[in-house]
Symmetry: C2
Subunit: 229 residues, 2 copies
C-alpha cells in the first residue's frame, strides 16, 4: 500500500523564512484555449523537498548530478515523540530510538525517517521552534551511510518567529552543521514530511527530485510504500 507524505503545494502556502512565495496560477484556460495549464512559481525548498549538497556547501554537487535511483529509499521509521520545542536530538536519543535500542539499523537502510511530531504545527509560528539534530547526531547518521527525512523545516534550528515564547538555548548552533555533516557525504535530506503517524518500521520511500539543472534542491512528491501486513 501507498501513503502520501507530502504537503500540498498552493498559492500562499507556508515557506521557510525568507524563501520565495509560492504561487500557482492559471495560464491556458478551457474557455480561451480548449485546455487548461498553469504556471507554478516556487522556491526550490518549498513544501516537502530534498536538499542537494549544493544547498549548504558551495562546492557541493547539484540535485541533477545524483543518480535518481538514490531517491527510492529503503527507509526506517524512527519515532522521537515527546520532544520539547527547540530540543537538541543527540546521538544517544537517536540511537536509543532506533528499533530495539541497540542502534543497529538493519540491512539496506539508507534513510532514517524521524518523526518529531512537529508536523502538527505546520502553518503556525511554532513550526519554526522544531527540535533539531546535533552535529554529532548527524555525523552518527553519516557514519552509517544513511540520509535523514524529517517532519520539520530541517535538521538544523530555524530562527524563531516574532510571536514565539520559546527561547533558544545558549548552545544552539549557528549555521547549518547538521546539514553539512550529511551533505558533505552526499547523504540526502528530505524535509517537511507529513503523515508520519503509525508508519511501519520499514518501508520504501520515493522522493525523486525534479531534474533541475544546477539545482540546490527540489520539491518532491514523497510517497511511502509497504506490503500490507
Amino acid at each position: 500500500m501507498f501513503r502520501d507524505l507530502s504537503r500540498p503545494i498552493e498559492t500562499g502556502m507556508p515557506t521557510y523564512p525568507g524563501d520565495p512565495e509560492v504561487t500557482l496560477a492559471p495560464d491556458a484556460t478551457h474557455e480561451a484555449d480548449g485546455y487548461a495549464t498553469g504556471e507554478l512559481r516556487t522556491g526550490t525548498h518549498a513544501g516537502t523537498h530534498v536538499d542537494a549538497p549544493r544547498h549548504t556547501l558551495s562546492d557541493g554537487t547539484t540535485i541533477d548530478e545524483a543518480d535518481p535511483g538514490r531517491f527510492a529509499f529503503d527507509a526506517r521509521f524512527v519515532d522521537l515523540r515527546a520532544l520539547a520545542p527547540r530540543e537538541a536530538i543527540g546521538t544517544e536519543a537517536l540511537s536509543g530510538a532506533v528499533g530495539d535500542g541497540s542502534g543497529t539499523l538493519g540491512d539496506a537502510v539508507d534513510l532514517l525517517v524521524l518523526r518529531t511530531g512537529w508536523a502538527a504545527r505546520w502553518g503556525t509560528d511554532r513550526y519554526r521552534d522544531h527540535p533539531y539534530l546535533t552535529e554529532a547526531a548527524a555525523a552518527w547518521c553519516r557514519d552509517r551511510g544513511v540520509g535523514v527525512g524529517l517532519d520539520t523545516f530541517g535538521p538544523d534550528p530555524t530562527a524563531s518567529g516574532s510571536g514565539s515564547d520559546v527561547t533558544a538555548a545558549s548552545d544552539e548552533p549557528d549555521g547549518t552543521p547538521a546539514h553539512d555533516a550529511l551533505l558533505s557525504d552526499s547523504l540526502p535530506i528530505v524535509e517537511n514530511l507529513c503523515g508520519l503517524d503509525d508508519l511501519p518500521t520499514r518501508f520504501r520511500l520515493y522522493a525523486f527530485p525534479l531534474r533541475l539543472r544546477g539545482g540546490d534542491g527540489s520539491p518532491v512528491r514523497a510517497v511511502a510504500e509497504w506490503e500490507r501486513g
Copy 2:
C-alpha cells in the same frame, strides 16, 4: 536497476507552443545567506510531466485528487519505431506492436510506454511534427484500463512550427480527442519522456506528480526500475 527518463528542467528549455517560459534563478546565496536556494518558474506541463483529467476536461479531476500510488506504474514498453512525421498510430498498429502481436497486455499492466523515436528531435521544430494516437487507439487503451507514456508532446497532434515542411493530413483531428479518451476515464498520460531506447518489455515506472492543489498536471521525475537480467 534504475534509468532516468526525464528531461532536464532549466532556463529557456523547450516548451509546448504557447506555454510559459521556464526559468530557474538563484534566490539565497552562499555569499549573502550562508546557503543556496533557487526560484523555479514553470508551466505545469513543462518537460517530462503528467496530465490530470482537468487538463483537457473542464469538469475533470485535478492532479492532487489522484492517489499518488497510481503513479508507480507497472509499465509495458511498446516500440513503434519507423514512423513518419505526423503519422497516425491506429488501433492495429498499436495492438500489433504490443509484444507477440496478439494485443494481450499481460497481467497488471497499467501504462503503455510508447517509443515513437521522436525524443531525438527534442529542441527542434521537428519535435512538433510527432506521430499521434487516433481517438480509436486511445479508446483501445482506455478499454484495457491502461494509461499512456510517450516520447512526444502528447498523444494528440501539435501545430507545426513555421519552419516545418511537413503537411498535416486532411483527416488530422482538431482538439484533444486522444487526451479526452484517456482522461475521461482518469487514465494518466506521461509526456516528453526520453531515454526509451532498449528498455525491457516490463518495468516499473515512477512518475509521481507534485501535489499541486487544483493542478491540471505536473512536471515529474520519471524513473524506470527493473531487475537486472
